[in-house]
């Protein structure tokens, strides 16, 4: 086979096209994720040097010490509350944007999701000004005579973290819900009305079921991202933040200097997240009336954040 025929071979062409995009992500993403797993099977010695010997000791310690499962549960609890609150806030706004707003619809939608992409830190920090002891909320409460003394518990508690995370991930939750609501044919709503269903019935039996894939996608993002968040908790959580699993990881990779144990905690977290994502994916497909995935329009996320979504 000569060179030019080789170049026309579809398999060779595919291989050539795949080389950079697949190769790069393999080296800088797949290998790092795998290395994390590998490192979780190593250990540190007394001098805090990483020893490359295979051991399950980290996992034994992780599941044997009440602290680690507790932090996981605590984080999951916070993430769950954030998810429910974000859903409660995002759904009405998404519904309003999808069905009620006529003028400036795109502008309003952009206005809702722009904060998603900018100034994560600013938004977390804004809450510090609002909730702090000399903050706006306390100032208002004292001025109005509702309380005599500024309330100290507003800031540096898990409630501050929950409020801030809810605020940060509400636009995230909104995106896929809005996408799902937008894709519902208007004729379905009209048909329901023509068949003498009231607005409540139409919502419960037509709109809500059809928006479930979007709700699921939004909730998954909110849960996963708020569970792994460590910035807002450190900024606003006070002592409660130390109880969050992501901060345990930060500390193990930092001051506590036990990377293998930190890697093991991360792997457990990663496993939970991936399980949740695939479960949500399955459910979404079941609920989806066209059998296709309803996803948020491209980023989000990112993850960042965005969510990661496309």
């Amino acid at each position: 086979m000569n060179a030019s025929r080789l170049a026309r071979d579809p398999r060779v062409r595919t291989l050539r096209a795949a080389l950079l995009p697949v190769g790069w992500l393999t080296v800088f993403l797949l290998v790092p994720y795998v290395l994390l797993l590998v490192q979780s099977l190593w250990r540190v010695n007394e001098a805090q040097v990483i020893v490359r010997e295979w051991t399950l000791a980290n996992y034994v310690r992780l599941f044997g010490t009440p602290l680690y499962p507790q932090t996981l549960m605590f984080s999951a609890g916070i993430a769950l509350r954030v998810t429910l609150l974000a859903l409660l806030l995002a759904y009405p706004l998404a519904y309003l944007l999808a069905f009620k707003v006529r003028r400036y619809k795109n502008l309003l939608y952009m206005a809702v999701i722009i904060p998603l992409w900018v100034s994560y830190l600013v938004r977390a920090y804004g809450w510090k000004i609002i909730l702090g002891q000399g903050g706006i909320l306390n100032g208002l409460l004292v001025n109005l005579g509702i309380v005599d003394q500024p309330l100290a518990f507003l800031l540096y508690s898990k409630w501050a973290v929950i409020i801030a995370l809810t605020h940060i991930y509400t636009p995230f939750t909104l995106m896929p819900i809005y996408a799902a609501l937008e894709s519902i044919p208007r004729s379905l709503k009209e048909a329901s009305h023509d068949l003498y269903a009231g607005r409540m019935r139409t919502f419960l039996y037509v709109v809500l079921p059809l928006s479930l894939p979007g709700v699921l996608a939004g909730c998954t993002f909110a849960f996963v991202l708020s569970m792994g968040d460590f910035i807002a908790p450190q900024l606003l959580g006070g002592n409660d933040s130390a109880l969050m699993v992501s901060n345990v990881v930060v500390s193990l990779f930092g001051v506590a200097y036990n990377w293998p144990l930190g890697a093991a905690v991360s792997v457990v977290m990663l496993t939970l997240v991936l399980l949740l994502l695939s479960l949500a994916n399955r459910l979404e497909r079941r609920f989806s009336y066209q059998g296709e995935e309803v996803r948020a329009p491209a980023p989000p996320l990112p993850r960042l954040a965005g969510e990661g979504r496309a």
Partner: protein, 274 residues
């Protein structure tokens, strides 16, 4: 029918709820912007307007200026890497079939879907394993690990944006070009590229903004030189200073401007469609 269009308490309640949520989303941002011109170094109620002293302090803060320069360099390099890897990735997904394609598509999205902390510690482990120092490349770049980390993690943004555009593209134009004896390079340059140009630009802008704001991955990979979010982070841990409000306000408006340009680029395309 007319009865249904008339404002009523249910729709009214919906508007009130939606407005409240909207307010909730913008409240902290508004507060930060207002307190950036607050005339006292104690950030407390009541608000005292106004002074631009905090902006003056900001422009004389050597550490912050270094951080701005580092962040800008980092974001530009992240855009370059993300485009260089992401565009071929989008073409691969659009035009080729291969075993593991679905897997690849899902894998690309992982850095966006996973909490940043997991990608952060994985990359930290990786760079430590291959022995690349977090400060390597400094002062030319803020550090190669953080550059590679941003570029790689944000590749997913480019892949999704460019892939979406390629899917809408009219492939007959390319075939016509090839029929007229243009070679693949000429076809790409004169036919394909003009079609996806705004998507490339838009994706680049989005990556730039996301890189400026990224903190979870940066936190683990940063070497000696802080980026702006980490510099702010450091200041916040030492105690609140109104200078933080000033820099936050500037970053917020800069990011919003970039995002608005991005949105326009996307919309122009929509309108150009037949």
């Amino acid at each position: 029918m007319t009865a249904r269009l008339r404002p009523d308490w249910l729709t009214g309640a919906l508007w009130v709820a939606g407005g409240a949520v909207f307010l909730f989303i913008y409240l902290p941002l508004l507060v930060v912007v207002l307190y950036s011109v607050h005339d006292s170094h104690i950030i407390a109620w009541p608000l005292r307007l106004y002074t631009f002293d905090w902006y003056v302090v900001l422009f004389h803060d050597r550490g912050m200026i270094d951080a701005v320069v580092a962040s800008a360099k980092l974001a530009v390099l992240a855009v370059v890497i993300a485009l260089a890897v992401g565009v071929p990735g989008a073409f691969l997904l659009d035009r080729y079939d291969f075993p593991g394609k679905t897997l690849y598509r899902r894998f690309v999205l992982l850095p966006l879907i996973l909490p940043g902390i997991i990608t952060g510690v994985s990359l930290l482990t990786f760079f430590s394993f291959i022995g690349l120092s977090l400060s390597s490349g400094f002062p030319a770049v803020p550090g190669w690990p953080v550059v590679l980390g941003h570029g790689t993690a944000l590749t997913s943004v480019v892949v999704t944006q460019v892939f979406a555009r390629l899917q809408q593209m009219d492939r007959f134009q390319e075939e016509a070009s090839m029929d007229l004896y243009a070679n693949p390079w000429r076809t790409f340059w004169y036919v394909t590229l003009p079609n996806i140009r705004t998507a490339l630009l838009g994706a680049g802008l989005l990556v730039f903004t996301l890189s400026l704001d990224e903190i979870a991955v940066t936190f683990f990979l940063i070497g000696r030189q802080n980026t702006v979010p980490l510099q702010i982070w450091g200041m916040l841990r030492r105690g609140i200073t109104p200078e933080v409000n000033a820099i936050s306000t500037l970053i917020f408006f800069a990011s919003v401007i970039i995002i608005v340009i991005w949105a326009r680029l996307m919309r122009d395309r929509e309108e150009a469609k037949p």
